[in-house]
Symmetry: C2
């Protein structure tokens, strides 16, 4: 085994891009070629096909569990299958579950998200810090024991992030306190690369804040959502990265809608045309982010 942080950064270096493909299966956007709208069949076929192409362009997949749960237990099973498929295809999987609970319930979620079958056995899971350190500890302990990672929500990319995350606590925004709260655990998940798999989630829509976060958490890999459809540029998205011998690096940058639902793919009448359109979109996103990390 290799530390999650090392596997992630090796994947990024080998693909030459920090692109992370977000798997957000909107029922209404899944093309009819995959099956009846809203069916579990279409969900499964879409996920399977998207992952096969994603594995050619990116080192990391981020499935949004909420979309799968909307289909009930069968959708949950499709999500488990999607994680397994992506891992088989050589991708690292960050399960975007945004879990957060206390004590034994947190242990249940840990087992579900990071544990072996019947768990997802994902490489990393997103978690919410509102309940405090003891709510994060089961996830971090499991990550440490089994070469996994955790990605803590620090500063998200939505407008509502301002409501609580930016509140002033003794001269700094609340999310700085979150970063300070979790940073002491970062060494526990550091790999040979020097990077830590205690990741911080910081929206690409706020590049200045990504730089501030980098200062607060120098070793943590960042998970940057919001690139593409949410309006951030490649340079903005990489604002929290640092320059080293492999170029600018320090995390992954997630794109969902722009790579999974480009207009050409939505207009495709055949599976072949859809595949070509998705491949184009992912290739473009990968190249844009590559360029932003070379300059």
């Amino acid at each position: 085994m290799t530390a999650f942080a090392d596997r992630l950064i090796e994947g990024v270096r080998s693909k030459g891009t920090p692109l992370c493909i977000g798997l957000d299966p909107f029922p209404d956007k899944i093309p009819a070629v995959f099956g009846p709208t809203g069916s579990v069949l279409a969900l499964q076929a879409f996920s399977e096909n998207l992952i096969a192409i994603a594995a050619q362009h990116a080192a990391v997949l981020k499935p949004q569990l909420g979309f799968f749960e909307a289909y009930g237990p069968d959708g949950f099973a499709v999500a488990v299958d999607a994680v397994a498929r992506a891992k088989l295809a050589g991708m690292a999987v960050i399960l975007d579950a945004k879990r957060g609970d206390i004590g034994s319930t947190a242990e249940g979620y840990t087992r579900a998200c990071l544990g072996p079958a019947p768990g997802f056995d994902a490489d990393c899971v997103t978690i919410n810090p509102y309940l405090g350190k003891d709510s994060l500890e089961p996830f971090i302990a499991e990550a440490q024991a089994r070469e996994k990672g955790v990605a803590v929500l620090v500063r998200t990319s939505n407008p509502g992030a301002r409501d609580l995350q930016d509140l002033n606590v003794d001269g700094a925004p609340l999310w700085h306190r979150v970063a300070e709260m979790i940073e002491p655990a970062a060494p526990r998940l550091v790999g040979a690369s020097g990077w830590s798999g205690l990741m911080a989630v910081a929206g690409a829509t706020y590049p200045q804040e990504a730089r501030a976060l980098r200062a607060l958490m120098p070793r943590s890999l960042l998970l940057v959502p919001g690139y593409g459809a949410q309006g951030a540029s490649a340079a903005d998205a990489a604002a929290g990265f640092v320059t080293g011998k492999y170029g600018r690096e320090g995390g992954v940058i997630s794109s969902s809608r722009a790579v999974a639902y480009p207009p050409a793919a939505q207009a495709a009448k055949t599976l072949e045309n859809w595949r070509a359109a998705i491949s184009d979109a992912m290739s473009t996103a990968a190249a844009e982010l590559r360029a932003a990390c070379i300059s």
Copy 2:
């Protein structure tokens, strides 16, 4: 249909107790009489039997989804079944999922937790406020449209609650800001009883804080976890309730371990003995809370 708040408070009045039964299926604590340890079979049998007895003593069930998810997709399906069973038995169900996400993903979780089949169709769901107002809105809108409720984590009962929730923001703890952030939405879920189904979660371990929360959110029903095994007394747990013509009321108080795993039930060798022990424990908890609300 009747507003969720009215259904909840009617249930509490009719049972004469604010007791809410927490369904936390610890794999290691489920008695062998229900099936092999750790099996989905045992999970299903335990849940089914516990709900049948719970419906006799309490108006509300709170299943902890994390315990079910630890069993994978089959466990998720058992949770869906448990919610349906409890509703059929006449209970209101607060799905303890602690979800929190943005935009379309929040809509996915809303559909999963509160939506009709293949969703849970729970009466209420617990949600995490860290991502701000826009992350709560899909849940509140669905609750308003379909006579459901939401229970927002405000001040939790774990030691780690201090790490962020108690941080000082301009003279008041962060959790006061959370209460102030959500209070304006409370009227949208108010029923004929005058109570709002925009519930606030406030741990029973901090009665002074429950009183402060009551002042900040006068109409909101409270969901008070941590009674029983977590060490709070019945009077502490009811600290956020107010005196009216039906006695002290204003929410529900959850007990999990004390009513689901009392020593007599754990020692039982037959299903009949287990049932009797569980019934005794629930009856005792119901009576203790009844007494605390009469005085």
